[in-house]
Each structure stands twice: as C-alpha cells, then as structure tokens.
Symmetry: C2
Amino acid sequence: MTYCVGLLLDAGIVLLSDTRTNAGLDNIATYRKMFLFEEPGERAIGIMTAGSLSITQTTMARLTDAIEEGDSPKSIMHAPTMLQVAEIVGGMLSDVTSEVSAKMERMSQNATASMIVAGQRNGGPMRMFLIYPEGNFIEATADTPFLQIGEHKYGKPILDRVIAPGTSLADAEKAVLLSMDSTLRSNLSVGMPLDFAVIEANSLEISRRRRIEADDEGFSRMSAAWSEALRNAFQQIDPI
Amino acid sequence: MTYCVGLLLDAGIVLLSDTRTNAGLDNIATYRKMFLFEEPGERAIGIMTAGSLSITQTTMARLTDAIEEGDSPKSIMHAPTMLQVAEIVGGMLSDVTSEVSAKMERMSQNATASMIVAGQRNGGPMRMFLIYPEGNFIEATADTPFLQIGEHKYGKPILDRVIAPGTSLADAEKAVLLSMDSTLRSNLSVGMPLDFAVIEANSLEISRRRRIEADDEGFSRMSAAWSEALRNAFQQIDPI
C-alpha cells in the first residue's frame, strides 16, 4: 500500500509520499515513490506513484528515457504546458497498464497504478493532476486544493479541516506530515521513510527536498506532540 | 454506506450507528441500523448492521420472529451465553446471505452484510462480536476494545488515540460521536440521524438510548468545538 498527498496552494506545491512496497505481508521493501524533475528557472515537476510497482517503475523508466532522448515529444521536460505533461504521463501510464494487464489477465490477475503530477513551467501557472490507471485525470482547484493516492482515508480529516489555498507552506508541511502520521498509525503497509518536497510558487525549482528517516527526531516529536494535543483537545470538549 | 462503532469497556458497552441507506446516489433513505433487545435484570443485547438492506432486514426479521416464537433454539433471548447469541446471529446472517446470493448471482450481482453483536447475560461477562457476511466472527478484547463496520477508516484515528478498556462512559460517548463526526464530514453516504445506546456493566438493561437528530444542538456544538480544538491543537504543533 501507499500514501501520497499533494497540495496546490497559493504559496506553492507541497508533496509527501511514503516508501513502503509490499508483495504480500512477508515481502516488504522500500522504494521511492516521489520523482522530482527540474530545470531551474524553466520548470519544476514532481510525480508521485501508487499501485503496482511493475507498472509505476516501467512508466517512470519510460518517462526518464524520453527525457534523456531529448527532444522527444514524450519528454515532460519539453512539453509546453503542465496540461501536456499530465497528458504525456497519462498516456504512458495507460500504455504500460494495458501491456501489463494483457499479461496479467492470462493469470486472472489485475494490476493498476495511479499518479499525482504537479509542477510549474515558466510563464504558466502551478498545476496539479491526479492521473487514473486508465490515463485520464482530474485537476486540483481552489475548491479542492489537495489530491491523495493510495490509502487516503485515515489522513483526510486533518486536511479537510486545515488546508485551504491560502495555507502557508509551514502549516502545509505540518498538515501533510500529520496526515501521514495518522495513516502510518492505522495502516501497517504504509511506512517510513518519507519523501517530502516543496516547489515554491514561481520559483521554477525544487525549493526543498527532504527524506525523513524512520528515526527522525523531529518527526517523532511532532507525532508525539500531536497525540498529546489531540488528547488534550478531546478532554476540552463538552459532552452533548 | 454505513458507519457503526461499538466499544467494549470495563464500564460498559457503547454503541453508535448512522441511519443512511442508499441505492444509488439518487435514492437515499433513513433506516434504523441499531436494534436493542432487553429483558431487564436478565440480559441486554445490541445489534448493529451494515451492508445490503435486503439482507440485514431479513436477518433482523427472522431474529425477531424467533424471539416471538418463544422457546425456539434460534431465540437470542433464550441463548445461554453471548457466544451462542453470536452463533445464532452468524448462522442466520449466513443463511440469508446464501439465499439472497443465489438469486443475485443470476443477475451477476452480489450482496453482503456484516453486524456487530454486543451484550451481557446474567452471570456472564459483557462480550462484543463482529459478524462477517459468511457468519463467522471475531470478538473485541482488552487489546482491541472497539469494533467498526461500514465506512470505518475516517473515524478510526480518534478511537486509536483515545479508547482503552478503562475509558469512562462519558469519554466513550464523546469519542464515538467525534469518530462519527469525522466520518459524516468525509463520506456523504453516512448520514444523520444517529442512534446511540449504552449498556452499563452488570446493569443487564439498556441503560441509555437516544436518537440524535440532524438538528441536534448539542451534536452541532460538539462538532464545531472539535473542529476549533483541532485547529488550535494544529497551531500549537511545532514544525519538524
């Protein structure tokens, strides 16, 4: 399982993913699910993945190949708009899913993946898309400034209450980490370390990137403080 | 959809259910999902249901018929232990599911339901069971003092943090209502009014029962206070 969350705020894009991958409960591994691409001053793009590792790895490998091949029409570093970046990723994901599914069907099995694609190109607005396994996508808006993939339910209540387009990047960082904290507590197949990144508005670069390891003291402290704050908040509430 | 939660605490059993039933998004109705049975001083039992209404209604109707028939071996009011109550409910649910499924399969459709059964019989301990569609069940323990059916994820983090066997009934009432509040906010197919009940330890009766309507002032005030408290708690947390 996986939990990835992306915020599209006035101040910038905030991305957080876990890294746990499992094939059955006895085969657990760590794989990066966040991929960052930048040409500073020109564009910055973040992609997060959830679902079948065979599909996400192949899709990301093809996207990377297309970038290295340079002027390919499939290169997300050459696409003139973020919408076209989303279309390239969606098309690639759809192709890979079809190929893998054709093989899987022979075994009566099924594999899918979904992705969050977010970024900004020089001259264009910041945009963020959730790409479905079929390759179609939806976009974050001011009404819905966050998108989630994977195990999204445990971590949604805190986002619903805290996140609005005007939320500061500092508050946004706290909110996604606390959203992840709730998910980590409730679903063992979502696990540390975490990958965190920020693309500040109009910076056209990956402004911050950080891997948060399982023994990260700051994260442990925040997690404990949040538990304590929740329990205190709970005690303050009057019964009905 | 549905959300029902039951707590098995040292001080008693606490039950909360919503009442929304939908067949498609344009066909929404209110149906009771909590059923209380008592013979004061002898036994008190609460049953909550989630899943296909055709299955839960038929199962509850047969359970009620068996009670009215009196000395039937299928009467949960005659079963000598709570374990046998769970076995009667599980057997009935399994039978009804099989019958309905046989019809549904002809239409390539599927229907299932699950239930929470909790109570106490004179001379026995309080027990609480989650009954699966197949009729088998699991039981709440000191390590896992709450059981949920239906849309359980949004409301689980608060229970994980607050509920332990020693939790007071007053705190337990707040916790299940706040757990429901998070679920109501995130899933439109879970809806008011709510049914709430308490079976105090060794009281052998339904100690409290209450329907909380959509316009309940106390619930609205608690919901607003919790949002406010969460936002305040969030502001107090230091970034990592």
